[in-house]
Assembly symmetry: C2
Homo-oligomer: 338 residues x 2
């Protein structure tokens, strides 16, 4: 434990605790020579103010929470990096919480954050979240909330997102233009608005090019990799075998590769694949994977920036700002026209 405190500094300097405190915050009430004496001794004794005492007194912790479904995923990892970068610049600390795509964990985390441990929360919903009351509770405690990527439509809060509808449309269009006639959409929990929007984009893409919309070609995947694998395999073994796949999540594209490998289906000859993804190795896959890459790092930075703006200037009450950062299509071999 750090044992040098204001009292000790004060004693050593023959000053009062309050004078030392103020000197350290460079208050105008303290004379320059005194400040210098205080600074010098503080440095010499390696004084570090106790953050908990300060937080208790000021009702501010200079700490934020990042709540995400998973971290072993380049998108979220990069987002964290963006958030951490901005946070450290601003002198904030970052607590991390993983929901593992379990709404129960998300709720427990949200409940624990009501204690005032953090000044604000940056969150990306987990796939199974339907009811968002636990997040409303947070807001009612005056703890600002900023969503990124997996936002909630039901809650008024700043949101950092990508152009999901447009991206879904572009992905579908890209597959159709590459010659696909039966485009499947692999998605996660439809309770997520991003999934919904990507699905809408997919449907609009089909409609735009006069393709029929077949609900059997939309596979709702979950967080169990085994189950996902089986569902995808069944899709390919059914009489409705797709010749194009739009994976809304990176891990599903990976499963498609595995399934195709097992079934002896060639990509892109038999099946073309495109996926939302931030895989660094997309270009090295066999075949290289056409992706729609989200600006994960920038999204993290943006979310953090918005949150800190709220935290620092509370007098400006902006109930909702939405930032839309565009995803980028990277065409690679997996969607080459045969």
């Amino acid at each position: 434990m750090n044992s040098v405190n204001l009292k000790q500094l004060a004693q050593e300097l023959n000053l009062s605790v309050s004078t030392v405190s103020r000197a350290l915050r460079d208050s105008w009430e303290i004379s320059t020579p005194t400040k210098q004496r205080v600074f010098d001794l503080a440095k010499k004794m390696n004084f570090q103010p106790n953050p908990y005492a300060s937080s208790l007194r000021k009702h501010r912790s200079r700490t934020i929470a990042v709540v995400i479904p998973e971290v072993a995923n380049n998108f979220f990892a990069l987002a964290i990096k963006g958030i951490e970068t901005v946070a450290r610049e601003k002198g904030y600390h970052v607590l991390i919480y993983l929901t593992n795509e379990e709404v129960a964990e998300e709720m427990a985390i949200a409940a624990s954050l009501q204690s005032g441990r953090v000044d604000g929360v940056i969150l990306s919903l987990c796939g199974s979240t339907q009811d968002t009351r636990h997040l409303l509770d947070l807001q009612q405690r005056n703890i600002p909330l900023v969503f990124f990527d997996r936002v909630s439509d039901g809650i008024t809060a700043p949101k950092v997102m990508t152009n999901d509808h447009e991206s879904g449309f572009i992905a579908t269009e890209h597959l159709i233009k590459a010659g696909c006639r039966r485009v499947a959409h692999l998605t996660i929990s439809m309770s997520l608005s991003i999934s919904h929007k990507r699905q809408q984009g997919y449907e609009d893409g089909l409609r735009r090019y006069d393709q029929p919309w077949d609900p059997d070609l939309v596979i709702h995947c979950g967080s169990d990799e085994e189950v996902n694998y089986r569902m995808i395999k069944e899709l390919f073994l059914s009489d409705k075998r797709p010749d194009g796949v739009f994976a809304s999540v990176e891990k599903l594209a990976v499963q498609v590769y595995h399934v195709c490998r097992e079934l002896g289906l060639r990509i892109p000859e038999d099946v073309k694949v495109i996926s939302f993804s931030n895989l660094v190795t997309a270009s090295l896959l066999s075949p290289s994977l056409t992706t729609i890459a989200q600006p994960a790092y920038d999204m993290g930075k943006e979310a953090a920036t918005i949150l800190f703006r709220r935290l620092e200037k509370k007098y400006i009450v902006v109930p909702e700002d939405r930032v839309m950062l565009p995803a980028k299509l990277e065409v690679r071999a997996s969607t080459m026209s045969s």
Copy 2:
């Protein structure tokens, strides 16, 4: 801010603050009916104890720090997941700090952690760290430190590591047995003990199979991807072109793939590649990459477990425990014998 506190509960119940506090911690000093009354009201009013007041009083924050070089790397991401899992089980909170492989940032972070903000630290050194005084300072403040993966030999602290020497040996052996006669080693900062051990394993592997050790075949890479790319390319363009590459870090293997692609070198026919890696897509790369995979998730869990053991039972002073978790060789196409 959370505004319901002990005082309010006490008032409502006609009890003293101390009684309410004790009742909530289920103290034997409080009668069962009183406890029940307190529990009920606390639940009803959604009382959440102020963690900062508690931390201030108890000199314990139930918070740990995880300091790592990067997060956009499956190894570290999985380690975080392991740490977070154990932490939440134990009721701890996890602060995350990224050094971005900059020793200056590592030092700044270590300094800021001296404030007593955290009860303990789990750390993986950044590549450029030579002097570790900043970490000794932490220990002197009685903040337990646990290393994982990139440990420091100079500091007495628990360490969770993999069998780096053996793995380096196995990787080299594997390449030689696959027919390589000029095995290169791509490594990062030699100030890191893991790099040193892997290098030793590499050298011992060469020696064991009577291969000459050529310092020109050992490339010391840094954190600048561009520079790494160029150095690797130069290696392949030199008259000492290797026919086998042992990459000590995943990102360097990726660069090797890129370089080979640019230079028209075939893997594994012209060059065989093996790498330390936790890439989920290793098996889908073109060609699939032979890896030495570290049990990242388990390493995270283990590091956290050790740290919490120290934090909970301080009376048992175990100056140093080392846990060695074995890495696993996964043979794939990139090292197939021609």
